[in-house]
């Protein structure tokens, strides 16, 4: 039988997909199976395809994606925990010609940064907010998040979230959709190729709408945390489909009138 060599496979005509140049060569610190890497790539692919590397300023949060600026090859600022929308507000108002986005996790955006998120959305800042919701504090070791599901276990609710004691999960995306300052509010995931493509289209749409002065584009990506959830990546994706999606249904919540 004839063997096919590596050289025979790796040829320009066989190349169907490659990593965007707007991701740096730094090795990502994310756990295998985590959605952050894919979400980072989607944002950077959009920036590359739109040709706006020199026009884009990103704001990183505190949380697992605190080092987003190590991977995204654009000018970036690292915010204090929860304050990214305040930074983005000033950046966009002082440099209105730029594309400005924040990249925030659920603890950052929906707990400590609730005020900054809601007021930036309500003022209608022309920024994009990428919200990664995995229902847990990953970086600090798996504590309960504002988005942890009822009954879901975390290190600070080891017997499951009892809403009578710990309160209810917060649906920030539904909340900001009620505010006049948001133009596009949508929820996606990046756990299958089809979902990745949809999420990327939403990110691009958000960049375009906010840059056109329509207000905040708010894109939630429901993601997994296999380490925090104590599952294999495959189990985590399945658990996310079965438990997270019914509570946080995917799809557009608010779209601008055509």
């Amino acid at each position: 039988m004839e063997t096919i060599t590596r050289e025979q496979i790796i040829k320009p005509e066989n190349l169907v997909y490659k990593r965007t140049k707007l991701l740096t060569d730094n090795v990502m610190h994310y756990c295998p199976g985590c959605g952050h890497g894919t979400a980072h790539r989607m944002v950077m692919e959009v920036v590359e395809e739109m040709g706006i590397q020199a026009e884009t300023i990103g704001v990183a949060p505190v949380g697992c994606s605190v080092f987003a600026y190590d991977y995204m090859n654009i000018d970036m600022q690292e915010a204090a925990h929860g304050r990214a929308p305040a930074l983005a507000t000033a950046i966009k108002r002082l440099m209105p010609e730029k594309y400005v986005f924040t990249y925030q996790g659920d603890g950052d955006l929906a707990a400590i940064g609730t005020a900054e998120t809601i007021h930036a959305c309500n003022r209608g800042e022309n920024i994009v907010i990428i919200f990664i919701n995995n229902g847990i504090y990953g970086m600090t070791g798996g504590q309960m998040a504002p988005t942890t599901l009822p009954g879901m276990k975390a290190s600070t609710c080891p017997f499951g979230r009892d809403v009578a004691i710990m309160g209810n999960p917060l649906k920030m995306t539904e909340i900001v959709a009620t505010l006049p300052g948001t133009c596009f509010v949508t929820r996606h995931s990046v756990h299958t190729p089809a979902n990745v493509r949809k999420a990327k289209r939403a990110i691009r749409k958000g960049f375009e709408l906010s840059h056109a002065g329509k207000g905040v584009s708010f894109i939630e990506i429901v993601s997994n945390c296999n380490s925090g959830w104590k599952m294999t990546p495959v189990q985590a994706n399945k658990w996310m489909e079965e438990n997270m999606f019914p509570f946080y249904p995917l799809g557009d919540i608010k779209v601008p009138a055509e």
Binding site: V66, D75, A80, R83, A86, A88, T89
Partner: protein, 360 residues
């Protein structure tokens, strides 16, 4: 031609901000400094110089807006009063850690807690010794007149950009609310994009092909690198201490006694000095203008000349610790202060000088 105007201290800060080419002001209302935001909103500089003025949802948001704007190399400022400045401390620490230039105005009121809305100098420790977490310093300017409220805006920005460090104007309710004659500076245009890129090549102005990406952060999980960074900050602080001490000496040449006071207390001490000198008491005044870096050296020199020093502060004794450090036991230093929003009278200060220092 000189442009003179009768102005309130807070209004003078706002007018000076427009005139010195400030790019962004972000604030939240709090007594006794709300006139700064009100004046700016009334003047609408966004229609003339293009300055952004925004009422934020909190002092926390306002200081973080300053962080975002300062990271772009823009001249950004905020103002507040004591309880609001406490809220800003997180942001101030991040700004100092990330080495960003900006201007923070504190029109101090009585504390602790909600305290009063009347004047105080109770935030001296907070301004000069930290306030936020970690090893950092603020350049602290203490105006004693409405003229200095105006002048210290451009000076504050100048020092902030020279050293890439936040500057604080530590004023108080007296200076903020009183009206005096001010000579206004000429209006300077805001910096152009090209000027900002040239002046602040570190700023997040958009990654162009000719340079690496710019990252503004105060985070480094590698202890060796973080130590290197903090030591670099320390070298900068030592340079500021060597170059930027500012103070005013009045009637010190023949002084046998010395008042040490800043801000509105220094104004009151000027009157006390006149009363005392009319009685034949040779008293002088040293007024620190920079509270950090503090004028340790001139105070040490005067310690060999005078028989005693009295610090007058509207607090329970904060700057007095720096004065005692300065004189290093060489001369007696006492403190006199009123708190809770009470302003000392010139006569009671003279009485304290006579009883505690001269007769003490």
């Amino acid at each position: 031609m000189k442009e003179l105007r009768l102005m309130k201290g807070n209004d003078a800060i706002a007018e000076a901000a427009i005139r010195c080419g400030t790019d962004g002001y972000f604030g939240y209302p709090i007594t006794p400094q709300s006139e700064i935001l009100e004046y700016l909103m009334d003047q609408k500089p966004y229609e003339t110089t293009g300055m952004v003025v925004l009422q934020a949802e909190s002092e926390v948001a306002a200081i973080n807006m300053v962080y975002g704007g300062a990271s772009c190399g823009k001249k950004c400022m905020t103002s507040s009063s004591s309880p609001g400045i406490s809220l800003k401390q997180e942001g101030i620490s991040y700004i100092a850690g990330a080495e960003l230039p900006c201007l923070i105005v504190n029109v101090v009121r009585g504390g602790p807690g909600l305290g009063t809305i009347q004047p105080s100098q109770g935030d001296y420790f907070q301004a000069t010794k930290g306030g936020g977490h970690g090893d950092y310093r603020l350049i602290v300017l203490a105006p004693a007149s409405v003229q200095e409220m105006s002048d210290f805006v451009s000076l504050g920005f100048e020092l902030a950009f020279k050293y890439r460090n936040p500057t604080m104007i530590l004023s108080d309710g007296v200076i903020g609310q009183m009206m005096e004659k001010v000579e206004l500076q000429e209006t300077k245009p805001r910096w152009t994009k090209e000027e900002i890129v040239k002046m602040s090549p570190w700023a997040t102005t958009g990654k162009t092909p000719d340079r690496e990406r710019n990252i503004i952060t105060s985070l480094d999980l590698d202890p060796a690198r973080q130590e290197k960074h903090v030591m670099k900050l320390d070298r900068k602080f030592k340079e500021i201490e060597a170059n930027e001490v500012r103070y005013e000496k009045i009637n010190c040449d023949d002084a046998e006694y010395l008042f040490v006071a800043f801000g509105s207390s220094a104004r009151i001490c000027q009157k006390s000095m006149d009363i005392a000198r009319a009685k034949g008491i040779k008293v002088g005044l040293l007024r620190p203008i920079t509270l950090w870096p503090f004028p340790y050296k001139p105070l040490f020199e005067l310690a060999g000349q005078v028989k005693g020093m009295l610090t007058v502060e509207m607090n329970l004794g904060q700057m007095v610790e720096d004065v005692r450090l300065a004189v290093n036991g060489k001369v007696r230093v006492e403190h006199y202060g009123r708190v809770g929003g009470i302003i000392p009278t010139p006569d009671e200060i003279v009485e304290v000088l006579e009883t505690k220092i001269i007769g003490g």
